[in-house]
Subunit: 159 residues, 2 copies
DNA sequence: ATGTTTGCTGCAACCGCTTGCGTTAGGGCA
DNA sequence: TGCCCTAACGCAAGCGGTTGCAGCAAACAT
């Protein structure tokens, strides 16, 4: 379209984790493109959770030409590679977790909108129950459990 | 009190549960309109889960003029009244549960797309853990937990 | 019946995300 | 180095769901 690539400052942070992605992709017959590089750069600077929109915004900060469809498609690919995972927030919107991170779920308060993480150990008994009674292997990180936190139960903000 | 709307066959099923809605609404200063009547009729014939789109479709079968925004807004109101609940499926889309129904969550298999219900007792220990460690009261019915069922773990469909 | 209040409706635009399609360009190979 | 195959891109349309707004009509009162 325009210049060779308006992406001069796309310096990949050399974290061992991310530097192999290019080869991972090629090994699968997939390609290493400037757009993917941008997204990987953004992800490498990200910890915890991000929504799709946030990722698109951050990519645009690096390369304003970024289009959403490309970002979302690349996120799918990276999830296949096992580099990220996605889940859904309490409102159903997508949320991406950058790995490596302890697998964890979320709890969300309807009233105040707060969210907290729950660890694998705290959900362990549920996971075990599902495994034994349904022979089901659950993916905790996909889940956001909604409810009410203690503070809101005692003193609802303004319901 | 036949309405002026083209809604001739809107015969409310006289289930005790639903017949009081009109008064519930009025008691709160809200209104009983033909559109709401249509939706309530649809819900009264529904058990288990429905998606938003399905509800819109079924309403249109009764009144082709039905518009989505009205349906979704009415669903919000009915949820306030405690007549239904909504949650999010594994893909983040809305799912409505018609009450009264035992509060239950869902598990969804990524591979085969199957879904199963999980009862309150099976999630009890998770709910207790959340209550004691985070002082959080969870709403089980809002949740769909994704993962893999036994069959797919043993013999992945094709992936 | 008629008026008044204000909750509700339908429209159209928008949001987050996905998809189909024609075009571009990565990258293995000669 | 240049060729070719096809993965990936950008665009535009679409889907499920939401929202602001102007007009409409329930419901209560006169």
């Amino acid at each position: 379209m325009t210049s060779p690539r308006p992406n001069p400052s796309a310096v990949i942070r050399g974290d061992a984790l991310w530097s192999g992605i290019r080869d991972d992709l090629r090994a699968r017959g997939l390609r290493w493109t400037p757009q993917r590089r941008t997204l990987v750069e953004v992800l490498s600077k990200t910890q915890g959770h991000v929504t799709g929109v946030q990722l698109v915004e951050r990519c645009r900060a690096i390369d304003p030409e970024t289009t959403p469809s490309t970002v979302y498609r690349t996120l799918d690919v990276l999830e296949d590679l096992g580099l990220i995972r996605h889940g859904h927030g309490a409102d159903g919107r997508e949320e991406f977790h950058v790995l490596p991170a302890a697998e964890h779920g979320h709890i969300y308060c309807h009233s105040c909108g707060g969210t907290w993480e729950i660890g694998h150990d705290q959900a362990a008994s549920l996971l075990e129950t599902l495994a034994s009674e349904h022979r089901f292997t659950a993916d905790l990180s996909h889940v956001t459990i909604a409810g009410r936190c203690a503070a809101c139960l005692e003193a609802p903000p303004s319901a």
